[in-house]
């Protein structure tokens, strides 16, 4: 599903590469944690998978497609097969929970009728039934992140990328979000999560890939934060 082949990424003006000759493969349906200290290069992986940045060297394969050589006009369509959740939620403050999720559908050309059918369903799935018409500022952090997860998942993507999704949440809320991601993973969606939340990693007991100074130092099938 996801293949990084000898990927090196050096940002302009950076003295050392953020990722240094990294090779890793992730199968369909896996749940993978990328852990490591700040600045270790784990967020760069998310950016590479979304084709927000291109690798300096090496190849990035997603969904059996070479992202590295993808023409720029194909990128939007490619991104529709990937859902994304961030630490800061990235919701539109002037739209309700329903509208935030529907927006993601409408801007890729789905009709309002499709949105009316699919959005309540996915909001129900993330546990926000009855709160469709609340604005982000009327929701708690955990609820906002649920909206973000609903938006990421509403297209039924093959891959869900999560960049420190629990970074702004208290431990209990974090665990609820993790349960949600776990449920999404059980539908067959590959989940890649970047985090430095040791609690969560230890509880989930999933594959853990540890990165330090741009290199993979550990890759464990049922790992802990360590």
């Amino acid at each position: 599903m996801i293949q990084l082949e000898n990927v090196t990424k050096t940002y302009p003006k950076a003295s050392r590469p953020s990722l240094d000759d990294v090779s890793v493969g992730i199968e369909k349906g896996e749940f993978v944690f990328f852990i490591g200290p700040s600045g270790s290069g784990k967020s760069t992986i998310i950016k590479l998978l979304l084709h927000e940045v291109s690798p300096t060297r090496g190849r990035v394969m997603v969904n059996a497609r070479d992202v590295t050589s993808m023409r720029s006009w194909k990128i939007p369509h490619f991104r529709r097969s990937i859902g994304c959740v961030f630490q800061d939620f990235r919701l539109l403050p002037n739209r309700t929970a329903y509208e935030n999720v529907a927006f993601a559908l409408e801007v890729i050309g789905k009709t309002k009728a499709v949105a009316r059918r699919v959005v309540p369903e996915v909001l129900e799935l993330v546990g926000l039934g009855g709160k469709e018409h609340r604005y982000p500022h009327e929701l708690s952090g955990g609820e906002q992140q649920r909206v973000a997860v609903a938006r990421a998942f509403v297209n039924r993507p093959l891959i869900l990328l999560a960049d420190e999704p629990t970074g702004n949440l208290d431990p209990d809320t974090s665990i609820e979000i993790m349960r949600l991601l776990d449920r999404i993973n059980r539908t067959g969606t590959t989940v890649v999560m970047v985090t430095h939340d040791s609690n969560i990693v230890n509880q989930m007991r999933r594959r853990v890939i540890e990165i330090e100074s741009g290199r993979i130092v550990r890759d464990q099938a049922r790992g802990v934060y360590g």
């Binding site: 990128i75 050309g109 009709t111 938006r151």
Partner: protein, 291 residues
């Protein structure tokens, strides 16, 4: 649905930043007015050239003390020239008759002038008006000639004035266009900034580039079209007020501007205004909305 979304975004975008929108539209319309005026002038000079060049003559004015023999010699020289299409003689009396018609509004002036004050002349039409110099050289040396006047040279002076006005209008149009396009670029930047969250989400969920950019580009296009319409109105009003009104005396000499030509400016200005602002907006977006 998507079209409705896009148009709604355009209106909201233009209204959010209404002072900038007004500034953009005003500069665009001034620039387009200048452009339209200069195009109209170009078309007009062309029409006038066609109209007058068919009519123009070379006048060979004879000296007051010209003898019949000299006059005949000149006449024969003209007839011999292969450059000449036709020739006519205008006696002093005929010249005076013409003069009286020309100045019929000032009888005092006519009274002070008699037929004896005006020279007799040969009026020569050349096959090709451009060959004036060669023709002039052929007859120049003959005795009894006071002066040879090429009407084409007089006309060219007038046309040169028109050309300079036209160039000035184009220069003003170019500078205003520069200002207008900088304003368009700035408006688009502000719009892109105020919608940065939406744009980020759209990119994230894989909205196509045209869908992200269309509302911004259309904002510029709407401004361009509105500017063009205002510019057209300015042109039309100034045609009616100036050329058909105050300067009517001048228009009689200058051949009137047909309304059809003025109407032609509407689509022309609209296409130029919309096209140029769209391209500016699109180029601006390349810098502010990266994939």
């Amino acid at each position: 649905m998507r079209l409705k979304y896009v148009f709604n975004e355009v209106l909201v975008g233009l209204w959010r930043n209404v002072t900038m929108t007004v500034a953009m539209i005003i500069t665009l319309s001034v620039s387009l007015t200048m452009l339209g005026a200069s195009v109209l002038m170009y078309m007009q000079v062309d029409r006038m050239k066609n109209f007058y060049y068919g009519e123009i003559e070379v006048s060979i004015f004879l000296r007051e003390d010209v003898t019949d023999a000299q006059s005949t010699a000149i006449s024969q020289a003209i007839d011999r020239s292969p450059l000449v299409a036709s020739k006519s003689f205008e006696s002093r009396e005929q010249a005076f008759e013409k003069f009286k018609v020309l100045w019929r509004d000032s009888p005092d002036f006519i009274k002070s002038v008699g037929p004896e004050s005006l020279p007799a002349s040969y009026r020569v039409k050349l096959k090709n008006p451009e060959q004036y110099k060669t023709f002039a050289a052929e007859v120049q040396g003959l005795p009894g000639i006071q002066d040879i006047v090429d009407q084409r040279q007089l006309l060219d002076k007038v046309f040169n004035i028109f050309n300079s006005i036209q160039v000035m209008a184009l220069v003003v149009a170019a500078f205003m266009a520069l200002a207008a396009l900088l304003l368009v670029g700035n408006t688009i930047q502000v719009a892109a900034y105020s919608k940065r969250r939406e744009v980020a989400v759209m990119k994230l969920v894989g909205a196509s580039n045209w869908f992200i950019q269309a509302p911004f580009v259309l904002e510029a296009v709407v401004a361009g079209v509105v500017g063009a319409i205002l510019g057209f109105i300015a042109l039309f009003v100034s045609k009616i007020v100036l050329l058909d009104g105050r300067l009517q005396a001048l228009t009689n000499v200058l051949t009137p501007i047909p309304n059809g030509n003025v109407w032609l400016m509407l689509p022309l200005l609209a296409v130029v205004g919309a096209g140029v602002s769209a391209i500016t907006a699109w180029i601006t977006l390349r810098f502010y909305i990266k994939v």
